[in-house]
Every structure is written in structure tokens, then in C-alpha cells.
Symmetry: C3
Subunit: 109 residues, 3 copies
């Protein structure tokens, strides 16, 4: 058994949830927000059998996609925190990121 | 050290939290919701010593229990998403699920 | 790659987030609350390269600190749940705790 922790953009959350249910995966949703853009996103905990990780990754690939977004505030690493830019800057924002972690034991009660 | 990630039904959350505190376990609560029934539940992060995992599982067994629940909406894998059923269907809903994960390092600051 | 799961006190959350961004770390924030004091805190998921874990720990050490706090309610393990104390008791509350976990696979979509 593996735990897939996937952070998905808010716009893709319904699509990925329906696809996971259609494929019979069980999962839990946690509200979250991005470190950089501070926008709302969703963190999914998906416990699945080892050979199913590739199917989960396939669904993430189909249901999420990178897009361009304009940001008007500099992050702290690019200047004094919260600097307002004269004109918005284009940042490529992701669709999703996913971590796969080993599970030593799984039980239902 | 191990991290136990436990997803517990909303009705059992107070009981399990009190039992963990009584037994001297430290933990963190994260609001969450189920993938299938979309109902609110709670995800507990419980960092504990390796030999204590069985005690945590014992508390989960005592404080959570399966129960029957009627659902009136089909999940996407059983028909067009959101189909309203003519009459509610009985689904057995869990009390809790728990994952045990290895911890390579733990520090308090 | 490692996943650092850090639980940080609400008062330290902005400071640690700005420091992580300044150092170029990507992370996700999850709202959470403490098992014992039930106060709001924040759980950070920080996926980073193996050799960077020490830098993340350094930032946690700089940005969070233990402080004394007065509590007026006994936890269940010290008496009947929710007992009001005649006079508040001083408890040392932490700045942060952090777990380091192995990552078998990481992908962005
Ligand atoms: N210093 C910087 N300079 C320029 N652009 C930057 C940047 N930091 C982030 N970005 C861009 O902004 C997007 C949103 O990042 P955010 O941290 O809000 O939201 C992130 C965060 O919540 C999570 N995430 C990404 N990498 C992570 C990691 N290593 N650990 C934990 N969470 C991560 O996934 C969300 C989407 O990440 P993704 O990489 O697809 O998309 C990122 C990335 O394209
Ligand atoms: N396709 C389906 N067809 C028929 N019945 C279905 C079903 N999917 C789920 N159920 C039933 O509905 C209950 C609630 O699932 P939900 O996803 O809302 O809420 C779940 C979810 O939040 C979490 N969970 C369970 N398995 C998980 C996994 N493998 N990974 C991550 N989270 C999981 O624990 C909660 C309780 O799960 P539990 O198994 O005890 O109880 C489940 C199960 O009995
Ligand atoms: N039974 C008890 N008797 C007397 N004092 C007690 C106690 N349990 C906790 N405390 C004190 O209260 C502080 C807040 O605990 P809380 O559980 O609300 O908030 C915790 C919890 O959310 C999280 N945490 C700590 N250890 C954890 C663990 N092993 N697993 C998961 N989360 C943990 O980090 C927060 C800060 O923990 P920290 O240890 O720095 O600080 C703790 C500790 O100093």
C-alpha cells in the first residue's frame, strides 16, 4: 500500500475527484493553500495498492493542466515582501504535484 | 517514531480525541471530508513511539464503529454523476481508517 | 526527496512562510489545531531535496520559539474532562514540531 499526497489547483478539484471515484479509488480531501500564490487549493490523501499508483498518476495527468496566470505582487525572495508590481507578471502555475509515500500498515475500524 | 494518519467520522471525533489525551498521546487535527460521501470528517496526525502504534489502534477500535447510512445520490462510478436515486440505498460507513508511516527524523523547536 | 511535515504555532506562521519563500522552498499550508490546547495552528507540507532538510530545520529554529502560556482547563488525562481550574496553570507551549518522511516518487503535472 502507498499513500499518494496530491496538491491540486482549485479549478481541477471536481474533475479529479470524479475521475478517482469513477475508477473506484478511495480518498480524503483537505482544504489547503499554496505557499507562493496563497490561493486556495486542495490536498488529496489517496491510499492505494502499490500497482495502482500509475493509474492515479494517469488520472492526475488527464485532469490537471498548467496554465499561465498574471500576478501583481512579488514574493519575498524577489524583493521586499508584498511589493506591488507596476504591471502584472506572468507566472506559469501548475496543475498538480504528487508525492508517493510508503505505508507500513493500513487498517479500517 | 511513526506517524499514524487516522481519518475519523465526525461523530467519533470527540471520543477519540479525549481517549488519546487520556493516554498521553500528542496529536494534531486537520478538518477534512470524505471522497465518496463528501461529509465532514477529521484527519488526525499522531506522532508516537514505534511500540505505541498498537495502543493507538486499540483506541481507534474502541472509539469508532461502523454504522449503516442511507445515501440518495449515486457516485460517478455507478452512473451519470449526481444521479438522484428513486429510493435511498443503504451504505455501510466506516468508523475510521488509519495509515502508519515511517519517520526518519522528529524535532521540536 | 523528503517531505517535512511541520506544525507551527499561529503566531509564527507568517514569519516561517516568508523565510521559506525567501530561501526558495515550495510548500503547502493546511489549517489545523492542537490536540491538547485546541488552539489554531498551521501544518506545512514542505517537499525538499534530501540535503535541504537541515536548512528547513534551521529556518524553523529561527522563526519559532517556545513561550509560556496560562491554561485554565485541565486536559482529560489530569482529571474529569473540561475541569475548570481555580487558578490558571502555566504550560510551556511549543513553537513547532517537525517530522521528516521518505518520498518514493515526486511528480508535477
Ligand atoms: N519562488 C517562485 N518563483 C516563481 N514561481 C513560483 C515560485 N514558487 C512557486 N511558483 C509557481 O507558482 C505556482 C503556485 O505555487 P503555490 O506555492 O501557490 O502552490 C503550490 C503548492 O501548494 C504545492 N507545491 C508545489 N511544490 C511543492 C513542494 N515541493 N512541497 C509542497 N507543496 C508544493 O503545489 C502548488 C502548485 O505548485 P506548482 O509548482 O504546480 O505551481 C507553482 C509554481 O509554478
Ligand atoms: N465506491 C464506493 N462504493 C460504495 N461504498 C463506498 C465507496 N467508497 C466509499 N464507500 C463507503 O463510504 C464510506 C465513506 O467514504 P468517504 O470517502 O466519504 O470517507 C472515507 C475517506 O475520507 C477515508 N478513506 C477511506 N479509505 C481511504 C483511502 N484508501 N485513502 C484515503 N482516505 C480513505 O475514510 C473515510 C471512511 O471510509 P470507510 O471505508 O470507513 O467508509 C466508506 C465506505 O464504507
Ligand atoms: N498532556 C500534556 N500535558 C502538558 N502539556 C502538554 C500536553 N500535551 C501537550 N502539551 C503542551 O501543550 C502544547 C500544545 O499542544 P497542542 O497539542 O495543542 O499542539 C501541538 C500539536 O498540534 C503538535 N504536536 C506536538 N507533538 C505532536 C505529535 N507527537 N504528533 C502530532 N502533532 C504533535 O504541535 C503542537 C505544539 O506542540 P508542543 O509540544 O510544541 O507544545 C505542546 C506542549 O508543550
Amino acid at each position: 500500500m502507498k499513500l499518494v499526497i496530491a496538491v491540486v489547483h482549485d479549478r481541477d478539484r471536481t474533475k479529479i475527484a470524479d475521475a478517482l471515484l469513477r475508477e473506484g479509488f478511495q480518498f480524503t480531501r483537505l482544504g489547503s493553500s499554496g505557499g507562493f500564490l496563497k490561493e486556495g487549493n486542495v490536498t488529496l490523501l489517496i491510499g492505494c495498492a502499490d500497482p495502482d499508483v500509475n493509474r492515479v498518476f494517469g488520472l492526475l495527468r488527464d485532469c490537471t493542466r498548467k496554465r499561465k496566470q498574471y500576478v501583481s505582487v512579488l514574493p519575498p525572495d524577489a524583493g521586499p515582501a508584498g511589493t506591488i508590481l507596476p504591471s502584472p507578471v506572468e507566472v506559469e502555475v501548475g496543475g498538480a504535484v504528487a508525492f508517493v509515500m510508503p505505508i507500513e500498515r493500513f487498517e479500517t475500524f
